[in-house]
Symmetry: C2
Subunit: 219 residues, 2 copies
DNA sequence: TCAACCGAAATTGTACACAATCAGCTGATC
DNA sequence: GATCAGCTGATTGTGTACAATTTCGGTTGA
């Protein structure tokens, strides 16, 4: 359970990253109480940087903090994930609006088109195995990340990042299982890109919001 | 520059609150570099709880952190405040939707109607002096806070709270200066409440979003 | 049996000492 | 005069000791 020791980075930062990672991949379970001494030993650091990291993660909303009785992993049950998706939908919709209003620069446009093409290539296979899902996942992350970057709004990016860090609301999580569902998602992407390119920001926002809501509801 | 010493609360929490307060009321200026030793002395605590607080505030997005060179107050210039208001508008709109969809319980409804009535009382004076603005501010905070509470969505509440803590985007900041502007805001509130009561959540969201955007744009 | 109480052990909160790193100055070199 | 290495004081990062608080077992008394 050691840290990747990039010696430059302060331990507090490395520890926060490591814990975030473990929450996303489920190594730390919902509601789990974190014992500072044991956790510090396990991570190979003292309690000082660990505690700084814990306070930061609590501020991000990933941990609960109760004075004098420590930190616990926040519970992300099903309905909480639904909530997170609705917030994510609203914020990504907003990002889409900003990107459309501002207009895409050449490199963002190229990235989006590449991601879209990769998605369409997956659809063209008509398959939906692990390999296809992985390729779609990559394309999907690239599409959403690029759009967020194109919005050029750091506060929105920060806010959305917090929501995306919630277990279950991550961009990496793909909730599609059939070729048809993937086809529909890629179709969404294409229409979103078209709306952005024609600077129809109201429509761009609406489409993105619906797209993200759909990810969750179409189970 | 002492802390209010409620001895129960860990110093790290009290320090974070105190610093947040100072950023909101402008005692800490944009871009200011925070010297840990001096700040700790000024607050009457050691560097240990101070640093925990600083990490938390950085995670909230109020401070910038650069490894080995410390924390600085994040810059919230005019256009950043505009950005924050757009995010706030989207999130409060969402809260409004949730509240409408879920329906108001008796106490929320009573609080909202009280807040509305207080706003209308201010409008009835036809004045816009410091006393009126203060009364309107109180009513306004109560209205928005109650609505957020009624949305019953803690993740949304947390996310919105972060945005509201941004200097310039606070609920306490009233950007109205004429009786007519106040009249219009109170009118917004009434229509929002009506939409919620009739469970027209799409409209409730739209109205709230427009209302919050309007706060900022109508200068 | 049960609740309230007490103490010890475990756990969290804080201060402080020291290590690591950075910023600014000095002076040597070209 | 500009540049850069190296020194030095200042600042940040971390480990550790200890204080404060909570938790939990056992004991007492009704």
């Amino acid at each position: 359970m050691d840290l990747p020791d990039r010696a430059l980075r302060p331990r507090a930062i490395a520890v926060a990253d490591a814990l975030r990672e473990r929450m996303l991949d489920g190594a730390l379970r919902d509601g789990e109480k974190l014992n500072e001494t044991r956790l510090a030993d396990a991570l190979g650091v003292s309690r000082t940087p660990l505690r700084a990291a814990l306070h930061a993660l609590a501020a991000e909303g990933l941990l609960e903090y109760a004075p004098n009785r420590g930190f616990t992993v926040r519970d992300f049950s099903t309905e909480l994930i639904d909530e997170a998706f609705e917030i994510r939908a609203a914020l990504e919709g907003l990002a889409c609006r900003f990107a459309a209003r501002r207009g895409l620069d050449a490199s963002s446009r190229a990235s989006l088109e590449t991601a879209l093409a990769q998605g369409e290539a997956v659809v063209a296979t008509g398959q939906c195995g692990p390999a296809e899902l992985e390729r779609y996942r990559t394309a999907n992350v690239a599409f959403h990340e690029t759009l967020l970057h194109a919005a050029q709004n750091r506060q929105l990016a920060d806010t959305l990042r917090l929501v995306l860090n919630r277990p279950g609301a991550s961009l990496r999580r793909i909730v599609a299982f059939t070729p048809d569902q993937i086809r529909q998602r890629v179709d969404d992407h294409r229409r979103i890109l078209e709306a952005i390119l024609s600077q129809d920001y109201g429509r761009a926002e609406l489409l993105m919001r619906d797209h993200v809501s759909g990810i969750r509801t179409a189970r």
